[in-house]
Every structure is written in C-alpha cells, then in structure tokens.
Symmetry: C2
Subunit: 213 residues, 2 copies
DNA sequence: ATCAGCATAATTGTATACAATTATACCATT
DNA sequence: AATGGTATAATTGTATACAATTATGCTGAT
C-alpha cells in the first residue's frame, strides 16, 4: 500500500478547475478566498494555492479583490488546437524514439481500457483514459518542455463541457486511431507515429469545428 | 503616482528564478523553505508561493522534503526553440492583425531603445528590451493561449546564462530584424510578419547551436 | 562491528492571527 | 436631493503556530 496522500491544495485545485471548466462557476463570477474556504471546509492556505495555480493557467484572473472566473472560450479552443497540431506530432515521434517497456505497458492499458469502455458506452471513463493516453505520450517524449506546454492545454480541452467526446462515431474512430498510434509507438516507428498523430489531431479538430476552415 | 506595489511573493519568485537560471544555484542543489525564509528575510508563506510557481515551470522539483534545483538544460533549449519556431510566427501574424495604436507605440519604443543600447554596447539593457519586444507581440496577438505558452518559454531562454546575446554581430543583426518585423506589424502585413519572424527565429537558432542541425 | 529500534530533529502541510489596503455604506452638510 | 467624508467591513498579503510525516543519528544488544 503506497497510496500517495493527495494534499488538500491539490484537491481544491482539481475541484475548482473542474467546476470552472465544466461551467458550474460561470464566466465573470467572483470568487473570494474566504467564501471558498467556508464552502469547501478548508482553511484559506490551500485555497490560495489552488487559486494561484488557476490564475497561472488563466482559468481565473486575480484582481486584488477577489478572483474573476475566466474559463475557456471557443477562441481558446481554436488556439489550443492550432498549437497542438503544430507540436504534438513531434512529441509523439519523440515518444516512439524514447519509449520504455513500462511506458509501453501503460499506454497499451490506456488503449485497451478505452476499447473496453467504448463497448460499455461509458463516456466519462473514455475521456479519463483519453487523458491517460495523451499524457503518457507526453511523458514518454522525455521532454519536460513539451510536457509542460501540452499537459495544461490538453487538460483544458478535456474538461471543457462543450468538448464532449460523447458523439459516438467520433469516439469510436478516436479510439481506433489511438490503437494504431500505439502500435506505431510500440514499433518505434517515428515517421509513422508522426503522421498518424497529425491525422488524429486533424480529425479531432474537424469534428469539433466542422470541416470548413 | 500609481506605483503598483509588488508583493513579496513576486519578488521572491523573480529573485529565485534569476538565481537559478543564471547559475547561482547549481543544478541538483536542495532548497528548503526555512533556509530561504531565513536568508531572504521573509516568512515561509511568500517563499512557498514562489517555489510552487517555479515548480510549475519545472525550474525546480518539489520532492516533499525540499526542492531540487532543475534549471534548464541544453536539450530544453532545443525543445523551446523547436516550439517557438513552430508557433511564434503565427502569433506575430496575429499581432499584425490585432494591433492597436498603443501597442504599436510600445513596440516601436522597444525597438528604438534596442537600437540605442546597441550603440552603447549595453547588453543587459538590450536583453531587457528584447524581452519587452517579444512579450509585447505576445500581448498584441490578443490570445491568452499563445501568450501563456510563449511567455515562460521566452523567459527561460532569456535568463539562461549561456544564452548571452552578447555576441555583438548577432545582437546587431537581431535588432535589425526586430526593426523590420516591427515595420511589417505596423503595416498590418500578416504574411510578411510571419516570414520575417520565422527567419528571425531560424537565425537565432543557428547562432545558438551552429548551422549544422 | 553491525544492525535494529527508538528518540530527536527537520521539513512540509495546514490553520489561524494579524496587518494593510480598498470598497461600501451611512451620515452630515449644503 | 446631492455630495463628500468618515467609519466600517471585506478582502488580500504576510507571519506564525501547530500537526504530521520523514529523515537522521544515537544507543544498545548480539
């Protein structure tokens, strides 16, 4: 049993990020440390920490007198996809190059779980495994720079309520693409990984915004 | 006089980031909150806040028992340049599109100061104005996503001690390129801005790592 | 001499107390 | 009624106190 205890600050961050990106807290709403402290039942210290992290990721904006909820706009979504399409295929290719057995196992597991939950039509779990798939690849690249850039971008997209991958057809296709990407990474085929990944992101983009560009 | 008072936490962050990226604190060194608190003469609270931010940018790594200095490696530099070359020209093109008079004025000022300090051979000031030039462009893009990604990347490069733009020939060429980029942005010419910027980054990269790739 | 175990110290995590700043509301004056 | 000023309250910034965990070193037994 080596259960890593998660700090209150981390939990608060998780909850707040979720509540904001999922729309529970509306854009423009004002959050204060005291009220959050009261409503969440923890002291201001962990609250402050979480707010600072959210502020750094531009999910809220600290005004000096409360924090205003910013959330994420459709324009943000487009920018995020633009950046991901420009750099994430390269990151995946690096993963194919630097892969370790342990990471390959973890990636395979993410794919297999996605296939399993696809059958169950459990979209929440599918999204969870989607995060694991992509973040595992970020780690496999062995580049903290790529990881630091891509993790927050992916998290924002992932949790955005409108970005529901609930559309069944896309979900199935997406999982299928993950399977093929996984195989390319496992085989260490950098070029193929790059191309499959670029196509994967293009498809996701087109599905989200429509074919017309 | 509306001097925005800078919080202790911000100052601590600035100082620590500088000390780490400039090499004062060596890679692998262990920082503890108590010692920093003592040596900097402030309580642990602002220290913690600064450490968290540094950790989020992977400049240090929190181990649960002190924070290990990570700094920035040459591999990081390459990754940063890769990403910048992929997305920063687009950001500059957006700046050319969304420019405002006020921002144009600020950008012009940055270029003119650089030209002035180039004559004075004041490399520190040149670097400072280089930061202002690039960060102004990030702001002009009016995209928080691009800005959030690019600002930390540029800061890391900027402060890296080996990345001294002290080489006179490159400094002169760089300032000249800034001037031309500024003119393209002022004119609102997106395509030209994109191309000039791409070339600017390519030149900076080649100067730092040598032509061979 | 070596190793186990326990006491001690060092460190982070959290809560609370206090300071400083800023908004707000109320009251008095015109 | 409008305005200005002042007291009050709300909020963040900082410091400190306390809790919990973990490393460290010492002591004693074999």
């Amino acid at each position: 049993m080596e259960h890593k205890t998660i700090s209150l600050a981390d939990q608060v961050f998780e909850n707040l990020e979720n509540d904001i990106l999922s729309g529970k807290y509306a854009r423009g709403e004002l959050l204060t440390e005291s009220k959050l402290s009261l409503s969440m039942g923890v002291s201001r210290t962990p609250i402050r920490e979480a707010l600072r992290r959210l502020s750094q990721e531009h999910i809220i904006e600290e005004t000096g007198k409360g924090s205003v909820v910013v959330g994420i706009t459709e324009e943000d979504l487009r920018d995020i996809f633009f950046i991901r399409r420009k750099i994430e295929p390269e990151c995946a290719a690096m993963a194919a190059k630097n892969r370790t057995d342990e990471q390959i196992a973890k990636l395979r597991e993410a794919v297999e779980f996605q296939e399993f939950y696809l059958g169950k039509k459990d979209t929440e779990k599918i999204k969870l495994m989607d995060s694991r798939f992509h973040e595992t690849i970020y780690n496999m690249s062995a580049s903290t720079v790529f990881s630091d850039v891509l993790v927050p971008l992916h998290r924002k997209i992932q949790k955005y309520r409108k970005a529901s991958v609930s559309n069944k057809s896309r979900a199935a296709a997406s999982v299928d693409e993950h399977r093929k990407i996984f195989e390319a990474i496992e085989a260490g085929n950098e070029e193929k990984t790059y191309e499959l990944f670029a196509k994967h992101l293009e498809n996701a983009y087109n599905h989200m915004f429509g074919k017309e560009k």
